[in-house]
Amino acid sequence: MKDKLGISVGIGITALAIVTILFYIMNAGNLELNEILPLLIVLILIVSTIYILWDRIKNIKKGLPAQDERLKITNYKACYYGFIASIWSAVGAPLISGIFFDYELSGHHVTAAVVLFGGITFMISYIYLAWKGY
């Protein structure tokens, strides 16, 4: 029951994210490179979420748990890596932007970088660790 509720909430949030992205793309007009890049990261996050949800639904259909002790440990580890990535992106994003592009990032750009890099690191670590075994 708890697993099914989690999956239902996950599907709802993913659907809302997809609708939001579609509205943004339809109303954005011509997108520039600095707008396409964060959009790509969000799309990667959505695709990864769909994969994780599909994997859980597949297990539930077979009568197996959606998440077990190994995946919980995987989840904790991926959270840790995502947290580290968030901290370093808060430091690194303004530095890299200043050094390589001679452009000073505003506060909300740095916040976006922290959220996106943290999220993408979490997803990549989670999928990699879930596949690799530890």
Partner: protein, 65 residues
């Protein structure tokens, strides 16, 4: 750490999925335990041993080196 899970599974004609269902974990978890890529919790090790009518010592061979 080496395990004899695969050997005992074969004795009882159980697939990884059957064993996973018996002990309440995902199939991949059984796969990774068999490959030595995941060390199960004491509870899971006990549940697997019980499902295969063996003791934990019979199932898991600890390499002390």
């Amino acid at each position: 750490m080496k395990t004899r899970i695969k050997e005992l599974r074969a004795r009882y004609d159980l697939t990884q999925e059957d064993l996973a269902r018996k002990v309440g974990v995902r199939r991949e978890t059984i796969l990774f335990i068999e490959k030595g890529k995941y060390n199960p919790s004491l509870k899971l090790a006990y549940d697997i041993a019980k499902a295969l009518n063996a003791t934990i010592e019979e199932l898991f061979i600890f390499d002390e080196g």
